[in-house]
């Protein structure tokens, strides 16, 4: 092992931190600000460090500097030092560092080079000119550790998303590096894939031979394997470095205010504390929260409700933000919640009857019946390949459907040209860039209006109204591709709505995005929903579903397997599992609470009891 005694305090090789980051500041070429500005932390051998920070703190940039990709492959100005095994990454080639630091990136597809799993894992050791026997031995060991050895002869394309990300972990392991850096490894995965990846990581941590630096927004899974937490502030300065107890539990309020995403269980616990509950120590996982609640007394103010075991959604709906949501959906009251019959709400806005959609020769949807009323917020969920995207695309007329099976706002989708359909339903694709067709933001919005042959004055007025509404006024003349990620997403929603569509359909709009951006979009959708827009969304993120959707539809094998109020769907664990879905963390914490049955039905943060003085604040805010 090469250990240069750069640090005077080092006495023996065993005391040297594996990774030492000191006052690291990185400015990308062409950028004005450094992000991170001054990060400092150590990682010891075998230690698992979770790196947290608000969006824009430069976490991914920091990750790239750990194996020298910054500054060697990505042009950037670097201040401070990163030392791995005593090697200064600024002056050591990436190839040398690759045997000290293994990397796993967010997009599993962008890490594949060869045609079989075995070749893929062997690729790194081969580049290091290792003898064939050692290459094979390492490949076998790495593939076995992630449970893919049996499939070594297959093309990686045939693996699921979770499988491909496990393969990427195996590839990093095969480099033989004592440190693994994982940058948002589960952001592109469905719930099952996330579980697979964390099962593999869990075994890795149990073996204890590799240190891990983990950047992850899915904290509920990550916290379980974490030894230490390092937190960067918005500028990218280290402001906390310690165990989960010292950082997550002791300084949760501070971190939350800063915009650092915390485990859902912790956020819930903070809110309960504000409402007078005593939860000490602060829970960081669903299980801990569950146990803490079973052990805690209900606060005096809330006691009568608990004692009477009355699920009284009434006052909460009135006090919470949901009072204005359309359709009068009751919250949460799983046992009482019945979707009002169509008679209560007049004619449905969307009617689907016996829908059979084909792609080529294969029938994807086998007879779907569905009604959606004006103002509903509907989530369509299901396993990969279940047909949920096809259902959404059929409703929006993106794929051809037989006549008379889908009616949106009084119009038969099959008989209407797409350009006229945009007045009834707007469709937002996963990647906003895909749907941009004009050279300026203004033209992008005006396009849909000009298609309707509106006079120029009206086109301009309506386009500017949308620009204002989505906070893009000063971007009217900018090329859509030059907007920031969040702005692109807002523009794509704007273009879908500009023609006046009462329905918005979104296909996995938060896929591959960080929590902050996903949240920004979901808040926007909630506001649209409150002002009367009907929203249909396909997503894998169960947290978003339970937080925002009034109603959830589970699609399996081209049929609707369940369709009910969101809280009712998530009360049925067996149903979720059979559909390849998982309970979001809040549900796992509150389900089956014996001591406080009034909390047992809670699925959303907004359903939690609130502190009296907090009732007027925004749903996401936590008073301290």
């Amino acid at each position: 092992m090469t250990v240069t005694s750069a640090d005077p305090r080092v006495a023996t090789a065993d005391d040297t931190p594996l990774l030492r980051v000191q006052s690291l500041g990185i400015r990308h070429e062409g950028a004005e600000l450094e992000a991170p500005a001054s990060a400092t932390f150590d990682v010891a051998r075998g230690e698992v460090v979770l790196l947290l920070g608000p969006s824009g703190a430069g976490k991914s940039t920091l990750a790239l500097s750990l194996n020298g990709l910054i500054p060697h492959a990505v042009p950037a100005t670097v201040a401070g030092t990163v030392r791995v095994d005593g090697l200064d990454t600024a002056h050591t080639p990436v190839a040398t560092l690759s045997t000290h630091v293994g990397m796993v990136f967010q997009d599993p597809d962008a890490q594949l080079v060869t045609g079989t799993l075995l070749d893929e894992v062997a690729f790194g050791p081969e580049n290091l000119r290792m003898p064939v026997e050692i290459v094979l031995a390492r490949a076998e060991d790495a593939l076995r550790r992630v449970g893919l050895w049996e499939r070594r002869r297959e093309n990686p394309d045939r693996l699921s998303g979770g499988g491909r990300q496990r393969l990427a972990i195996a590839c990093a392991l095969a480099m033989g590096s004592p440190l693994l850096v994982l940058d948002e490894p589960t952001a592109n995965l469905d719930p099952q894939g996330i579980e697979e990846v964390y099962a593999a990581l869990g075994e890795l941590v149990a073996a204890g031979d590799r240190a891990i630096v983990l950047i992850e927004h899915n904290l509920d899974a990550a916290v379980a394997i974490t030894d230490r937490v390092v937190v960067l502030d918005a500028d990218g300065r280290t402001i906390a470095d310690g165990t989960i107890d010292e950082v997550l539990r002791a300084r949760a309020d501070e971190l939350h205010t800063m915009g650092v995403w915390l485990p859902a269980a912790t956020i819930a616990a903070l809110r309960l504390r504000a409402a007078g509950w005593t939860l000490d120590p602060l829970p960081v996982s669903p299980d801990e929260l569950h146990a803490a609640l079973e052990a805690a007394e209900a606060p005096a103010a809330d006691a009568p409700a608990s004692a009477a075991d009355v699920r009284s959604p009434g006052p909460r709906v009135a006090s919470g933000g949901d009072a204005t949501s359309g359709g009068g959906i009751s919250v949460p009251a799983s046992s009482l919640g019945v979707i009002p019959s169509p008679g209560d709400r007049g004619t449905p806005l969307i009617t689907v009857r016996g829908l059979r959609t084909r792609r080529g020769r294969a029938e994807i949807l086998h007879g779907i019946d569905l009604d959606v009323h004006a103002g509903e917020f509907v989530a369509i969920v299901g396993a990969n390949g279940a047909g949920k995207t096809t259902l959404l695309q059929s409703i929006a007329g993106v794929v051809p459907v037989p006549r008379g099976q889908v009616v949106v706002d009084g119009t038969d989708v099959a008989r209407t040209a797409l350009r006229h359909l945009s007045r009834r339903i707007g469709f937002v694709f996963q990647n906003p860039e895909h749907q941009f067709i004009a050279h300026t933001v203004f033209d992008e919005l005006a396009h849909g209006l000009r298609l309707q042959k509106l006079p120029d004055a009206e086109v301009s007025a309506r386009a500017f109204e949308i620009l204002r509404r989505f906070g893009l006024e000063d971007k009217a003349d900018v090329h859509p591709f030059l907007l920031s990620g969040g702005q692109k997403r807002r523009l794509s929603v704007g273009t879908a709505l500009v023609a006046g569509a009462p329905v918005l359909a979104l296909d996995e709009p938060t896929f591959g995005q960080d929590r902050a951006r996903a949240d920004e979009l979901m808040h926007l959708l909630r506001e649209l929903s409150r002002s009367g827009t009907t929203i249909l969304i396909v997503t894998h993120d169960m947290h978003l579903v339970t937080e925002y959707a009034h109603r959830t539809i589970i699609v399996g094998d081209g049929r609707i397997t369940a369709d009910a109020e969101t809280s009712r769907i998530f009360a049925d664990d067996a149903l979720l599992r059979s559909a390849g879905l998982r309970q979001p963390p809040l549900r796992r914490a509150f389900a089956g609470l014996r001591r406080h049955p009034s909390l047992a039905g809670i699925t959303r943060l907004t359903d939690l009891p609130r502190a009296l003085d907090a009732r007027q604040t925004d749903a996401q805010g936590v008073t301290s």
């Binding site: 594949l112 790194g124 081969e126 797409l418 945009s422 067709i437």
Partner: protein, 269 residues
Amino acid sequence: MTTITIDPYASIGARGRFLYGLGPLAKLSAPLPAMVLLVFARDIATPLAFIALAYLVLLTGARLTARLLLLLVVAIPAGALVLGLGMAVWTDASRVDTSVVIVQIGGWTLYGGALFIGLATGVRLAAIISLALIAGLTTSGPDFVRASVQQLRVPYRIGYTALAAFRFVPRFGHELDVIRQAHRVRGAHGGRGPFAALARWWGYIVPLLAGAIRHAERVALAMDARAFGAHPDRTERHLVPWRVRDTVFIALFWLASAGILIRFFPWSL
């Protein structure tokens, strides 16, 4: 679920079929002189003879699948015929033998000379394609890259990067589908005809390129992180040696090619 027609990584092999036992470079260089010289041939007999040679090698040396037979028996002859007739119509009538009239429609005449030239062109292309299939149908992408790196001394950085780029093809195909769908939904560039189509395709290029560049950058970083290009060479787990049978195959094929070329010299009408 998705239909990926060509898998450049698929391992190819069949027992008792000699083409799979030959090196990729031998299979490529054996028909190469004939393929080059066929460009200059103007008759029908020479290309026909080479088609016969290529078919003989393929039918005895490659695994007989329905796909291969369809290709050899239907696709190539039909392609040659269609191309031949097309070229016959297109040929400048003032420069051909006008002694035989095949068809006369109004003031336009298809002469026997034009038809002959057209068919000769079609058959020539069919011959070149058939010869290329000898290597094309029996060699996997990685084997070709390995042989190029090991024997032709092609830098491995180029060879393996090209191989990685094969992965992009189905991905971009899928991305293009989504972009077309998205643009259709937006009601972009309605209308029929070649100009509207051109405008439509132009609109797909920017988002496709933006996605492609981003993806390529990510793949490059991932490869760098695994020490790609660290050393002047890398471990080759699969050696693709040059064997005696490769030399024998090339010698025999060149002899046969020479025989055909001499027999039909000067390959003109």
